[in-house]
Amino acid sequence: MSHPPVPTEPIFNPEDPEVPVPVRGTGDHGTWFTRHVRGIIIGLYVTAFVVLMLDLFYAKHSYFSEEDWFGFYGFYGFVGCVTLVLLAKLLRKAVMRSEDYWDA
């Protein structure tokens, strides 16, 4: 991912003009989250596996036949989100314009 350069000057805030936004203070920038990225990701995969396996342990009350498939909801969510992101990337090709499109 490309990111804009980190600003180094205090930034004027139009809604709160008294307070310029402090930029990158001194000291430790790491937090619990930044130190545990790997753990969070592993946790997500483990949770996903566990809730998938839970499918074996309850009686379904289905309205449609596909709901009875093992892990239908997980599968549908996963495929749905991947499809969503991929189609959105295609949509970007069609509708994305430069930021000043309407000012021109």
Partner: protein, 615 residues
């Protein structure tokens, strides 16, 4: 406490705000929604506050379970919004926000179409100041866009109501326009007609139907940090309320709702302005409600109203967290933000609660409201609808559940170290966050206020529902996480995404360009002809009509003769013509042509006129 219409408590009470100063004004602002709420509780069920206007008996307050539900949540939104905006010193915003809340209450309690329309217009005109209050060139443009669309909606509604009343012996009751039951088509001429269609369309604009939705995605992100919180609560939910009231069981709404739930999530993935992402997300959520209204069974209508109730709270919470970020950093683009959880941990935590609520995690509010609509769709056998809604539910997690908190508070470190949100903002977010968890954990708090009983098969806390919903969400999150890890997730980019407003923005620009270019030239020619060419020509002709005709004849004849230029006779004739023209130009009008000639010509014109008229 004597009863008094809450709408008037707020909208008249707002007029006193400018006369109060300092802490007194803050206390007054906080007291207004509370007093108004007390007034609502004091109002008996049924119709009250009838008044005579336009030759009709109109009803200011129609209190039943449907309007009460919206009344409760609107009061909640008004109170939380005022608390959230308590630090704002801009009188314009304070007055317009409170009036706006009053107008929303007026609309949901209106007992007849005319009263409803009056408050409907009030919504538009009071809310636009929350965008104008930003006082920037681009937000002013957005405000005009917003206002124009709102006015179109109001006009459609007005004409629709007039036509409807004309066709129904002046009936004005704010009651269902559809026959009882469900599965009616709006195109069924037995009950619908142009009036009903126009009302339907007018509501549709404010409901942000697909292709009519751009005023939301243009207007709301341009509002002030606090203004957007109010905006997110009222206008669109009034439209949902009106659909519940007037058009339950209208089949077209199912497909409109499916479109609303489906298309905005794609835009939400690629949009950079995080408040605009919330707008797309709002359209998506309203889509669920509209589907519920369209299905029209008791369970579905319950679901639509319950979801509107929850949405006002969790969407307000999300707008509040983003407003706090905007307030502290002056930025709203995902590409400029990130890493803010370091210095705004509370706001980040409240954002996570809002995200979990909108995504419908168990114990959070949408879990107990969205499921009613899903079950209603499934029970009525709308298989495709159900599949799209399930896809949309997964998409909500992607854009509102992950994208919003992730790009604002986590993701890469933007280097920004803003202060935590002010205490009043945190308090407002805390109240909303608690409400989200409270409703999600104790659904009966909400269910007992719904108009219809919730059947056992629709109760949310069953093992299948909890596990299936968790599975859907966790695996959706897994998909997004995996795509990010693989660097396949689209980055936040500074950009504009074209949307349905493209055609009318382009069309109006083309119209203006046509007006300034070709149209001005045509008018220029016309103006020159009327003011210069024709009078000059007439004056020239009038000096000596006979001579002018002869000169013109000679000129045409000699023009042909010009083919034979070089022949002495032709050259001599042309020389003579030039001399004649020069002499003619020196002729004094009237000198060579006495009045009798003028009389003769007048007589000829008169004769021609008579012949034309009498023939």
């Amino acid at each position: 406490m004597p009863s008094f219409p809450p709408a008037l408590v707020l909208s008249l009470g707002a007029l006193l705000i400018p006369f109060l100063r300092g802490p007194l004004r803050k206390l007054y602002l906080l007291a207004l929604p509370i007093v108004s709420f007390a007034a609502l509780l004091a109002t008996p069920q049924g119709s009250s506050f009838d008044y005579e206007a336009f030759g009709h008996t109109l009803t200011l307050m129609q209190v039943d379970k449907t309007s009460l539900l919206f009344g409760y949540v609107f009061h909640f939104a008004a109170f939380v919004g005022v608390l959230y905006a308590l630090h704002v010193k801009d009188t314009t915003q304070q007055v317009s926000a409170v009036i706006y809340a009053g107008m929303a209450l007026g609309a949901v309690f209106a007992g007849d179409l005319i009263t409803f329309w009056l408050f409907w217009e009030g919504l538009a005109f009071s809310s636009v100041f929350l965008i104008l209050a930003r006082r920037q060139a681009d937000s002013n443009r957005a405000a005009m866009h917003y206002l124009l669309v709102q006015i179109v909606s109001g006009l459609l509604l007005l004409v629709g109501i007039a036509l409807y009343m004309h066709g129904h012996d002046g009936a004005t009751a704010m009651a269902r326009l559809t026959p009882s039951g469900s599965g009616h088509s709006i195109f069924n001429l037995d009950w619908a007609g142009p009036g009903v269609w126009l009302i339907f369309l007018g509501l549709g604009i404010k409901c942000a139907w697909p292709l009519l939705h751009s005023w939301v995605t243009v207007g709301y992100p341009a509002a002030t940090a606090t203004g957007a919180v109010f905006l997110s609560a009222f206008t669109t939910k009034c439209a949902v309320y009106a659909l519940v009231r007037l058009f339950p069981g209208t089949e077209e709404l199912i497909w409109i709702g499916v479109g609303m739930a489906g298309f905005p999530i794609f835009y939400a993935v690629i949009e950079n302005d995080l408040r605009r992402v919330l707008c797309y997300s709002m359209i998506n959520q309203i889509g669920f409600m509209v589907v519920g209204v369209g299905i029209g069974t008791e369970l579905a209508l319950n679901g639509a109203m319950a979801h509107a109730f929850c949405d006002i709270i969790f969407k307000g919470l999300l707008f509040m967290t983003m407003g706090a970020v905007l307030f502290r950093t002056g930025r709203m683009n995902g590409s400029d933000l990130g890493g803010l959880h370091r210095t705004m941990p509370w706001t980040a935590a409240f954002c996570a609660i809002g995200a979990a609520s909108i995504s419908a995690f168990p114990l959070f509010s949408a879990f107990i409201s969205k499921s009613l609509i899903m079950i209603a769709a499934a029970r009525e056998g709308y298989h495709l609808v159900w599949l799209v809604l399930l896809f949309a539910a997964a998409g909500v997690l992607e854009h509102a559940g992950i994208k919003i908190p992730f790009f604002a508070f986590f993701a890469h470190d933007s280097g920004l170290r803003p202060k935590e949100a002010p205490r009043n903002m945190l308090a407002a977010m805390a109240i909303s966050g608690l409400a989200c968890i409270g409703l999600g954990s104790f659904p009966d708090l909400l269910y007992r206020h719904l108009p219809y009983a919730i059947p056992d098969y629709a109760l949310p806390y069953t093992w299948p529902h909890v596990i299936q919903q968790t599975q859907l969400l966790v695996w959706s999150a897994l998909a997004v996480g995996t795509l990010m890890l693989l660097r396949f997730y689209p980055p936040e980019l500074r950009s504009v995404n074209l949307d349905a407003d493209w055609w009318y923005r382009k069309a109006t620009r083309a119209f203006v360009a046509f007006g300034q270019g070709p149209l001005m030239r045509i008018f220029g020619w016309l103006s020159k002809a009327v003011h210069e060419t024709i009078p000059t020509g007439l004056r020239y002709f009038a000096r000596n009509p006979g001579g002018a005709v002869r000169l013109a004849f000679d000129r045409v004849a000699l023009g042909w003769a010009g083919l034979f230029r070089g022949m002495p006779a032709v050259d001599a004739a042309q020389e003579r013509l030039r001399e004649d023209q020069a002499r003619f130009a020196e002729t004094t009008p009237g000198a060579a042509w006495p009045i009798s000639t003028t009389v003769l010509y007048t007589a000829v014109v008169f004769l021609v006129f008579l012949l034309v008229v009498l023939a």
